[in-house]
Symmetry: C2
Subunit: 352 residues, 2 copies
């Protein structure tokens, strides 16, 4: 999702060179950044891709539009709270919304593995249609390919979206400034733990359902509350909150300090992470964003978001500082601080 | 490619109902049409997808743009004359050009199978970059996912393109009229036979290389020669010339009559088709288009195209008639006629 790379990525820990692609290259963490930097950018250096990751603002005649692309390979195809179809709609709509644009049109490309039951396909396409209606976008073009049994995995979906850019609202990963408050719009880690539970048949004795949602209405709430003063807006999908904050710290060349006690980690997610040895900061989310706003607007922004069903758990989790630029540090419960690095390799493959 | 469905598809031969997806659903023929009609359109009925297939003209502010999407699953990834990367650029650029628009921007979504050698990825991305430069388009956004070994097949690529629509040039599958001449811009069947030979290790004793090319410059030549009087323009990819002509006959509710002797089938393609029991009319192409122009402009159009390197084999292959609407018939070498139906199922899977 939005966890592809924007801005300049520094890898503090060296990444081993690979002569073949490994699963971790798809994690949204350091290995993904290395793959992009070493194997895509050298060739596509003359293209806007160099700077922009999965979304770009381009000129179409006199109109500025956002183009954003995302491919969905989530396993299993259906899970509590959603399926690959709803994820494919919301994921790309959210990527457009995070760039401050108004989502308008989507295209959908399907790779179907031979043998996929038609009833599964029907449910997923119906689910996409509903999600598109909720998000207020039109699916205007589609393409379907079929591959032999054993050469795919049920269904992969690419969605690419066009949004209308707003000249007065253009949050960027490079725009965070010392003094900004760091907000999160909701609970952390829910999508990733839900997928993991569904895939592995784990039962954490709690009801978890993916948080996948179209975040555009909540962005509108935030815009109104801050009079468009949002420096940076990102949805922390693959690689989780930790990777997203690291990308922003690096892109804006600022330090970010977060407070462990403030992180909204639901009990079910916390318990599952403890059992599995996972850190919720690296677990994927599909229904929240992080927003960087001027300190004096932070309380108002949080309060406004809490008034919306998608933002009930919104809160302030940290601030931007002028120290240790490019790094994210966390004040822990014990009063100390620790560096929160990017996800080095692969924590949870095929989460979206 | 453009072989997804535009307009109203009639299936003269009934298609068996399937409870699972089969390879033929990806063929670009009747089964593909049935899949779209029965499993996508009922859900996405409120969306523009209903009418438009893989490309659509939409409004972005005051600008009319074309969005077109295509996913590439060709096997093998590299073949004489190209690779999946160049195909992914040219395929989507051509789909935009066939709608009369000027290709401008592309996004690229990659699904990589774990274990893909980095050197293969490097070659393919480099090839994409070169093809984009030749086509004059910018790759502005990208996304990369990795799936486990055995859950993909090396590499799949989705490209989605944005083109600037031309108000004065808008060829449509629904615009063919009785009296129009049917032109083809080059030789038939080259891409499909090349892929088949490369995949199966066949040696037809002739040098075949994919005809993949960016057709936009040749469309410009045709526009100038006809003063924009081109009713219909399509690239006959999956499903071949036969399926494309059937789609147009159906969408425009006209009859199409082609002349077997006029078809530009290279000796190598003809020989391979004879050996394998294939009909070149159903074999995929990547570097030609069919164009419907008013009869009085046909000779001028053919002559102009022949003056361009991509159009040297251009010729007139038939005409639009007021008879047997929705059907394509061919005058054979023996003086008879036969109906040329859509590809019923799957002739050559994973050809693009």
């Amino acid at each position: 999702m939005s966890a592809t790379i924007s801005g300049n990525i520094s890898c503090a820990v060296p990444i081993a060179t690979h002569d073949r692609v490994v699963l971790g290259h798809g994690s949204g963490g350091k290995l993904s950044a290395a793959l992009l930097k070493e194997h895509f950018l050298p060739h596509l250096h003359s293209h806007a891709l160099r700077m922009l990751g999965d979304g770009a603002i381009v000129s179409a005649g006199r109109t500025q539009v956002v183009l954003s692309t995302d491919t969905f390979v989530v396993n299993p195809l259906e899970f509590p709270g959603g399926d690959i179809g709803v994820l494919a709609i919301n994921g790309t709509v959210n990527d457009i919304a995070m760039m401050g644009a108004t989502p308008a049109y989507l295209t959908a490309g399907f790779i179907i593995e031979e043998g996929l039951p038609m009833e599964v396909l029907d449910r997923i396409v119906a689910s996409m249609a509903r999600a598109a209606t909720v998000a207020g976008v039109q699916v205007v073009a589609g393409d379907t390919k079929v591959v032999e049994h054993g050469k795919g995995d049920g269904l992969f979906i690419n969605t690419t979206g066009l949004g209308l850019a707003n000249s007065e609202f253009r949050p960027l990963p490079t725009s965070a400034r010392a003094g900004d408050a760091v907000l999160v719009s909701g609970s952390i880690g829910v999508h990733g733990i839900t997928i993991l539970s569904a895939r592995e048949g784990l039962d954490f004795q709690v009801d978890l359902a993916s948080d996948t949602a179209c975040l555009y209405p909540l962005v509108e709430v935030l815009r109104r509350a801050t009079d468009d003063h949002v420096a940076t807006l990102r949805d922390p999908t693959r690689g989780g909150v930790a990777s997203t904050l690291n990308e922003i710290a690096s892109a804006s060349n600022v330090g970010i300090e977060i407070d462990e006690a403030s992180l909204p980690v639901p009990t079910g997610v916390a318990g599952a992470c403890e059992m599995l040895g996972l850190d919720p900061l690296y677990v994927a989310n599909e229904g929240i964003f992080v927003a960087f706003v001027p300190e004096h607007l932070a309380d108002k922004a949080v309060e406004a978001m809490r008034g919306h069903p998608l933002g009930r758990e919104a809160r302030r989790i940290g601030k931007v500082i002028d120290d240790h630029r490019g790094l994210v540090v966390m004040r822990t419960g014990l009063g100390g601080t620790r560096v929160v690095d990017m996800l080095p390799g692969d924590q949870l493959p095929r989460i979206c």
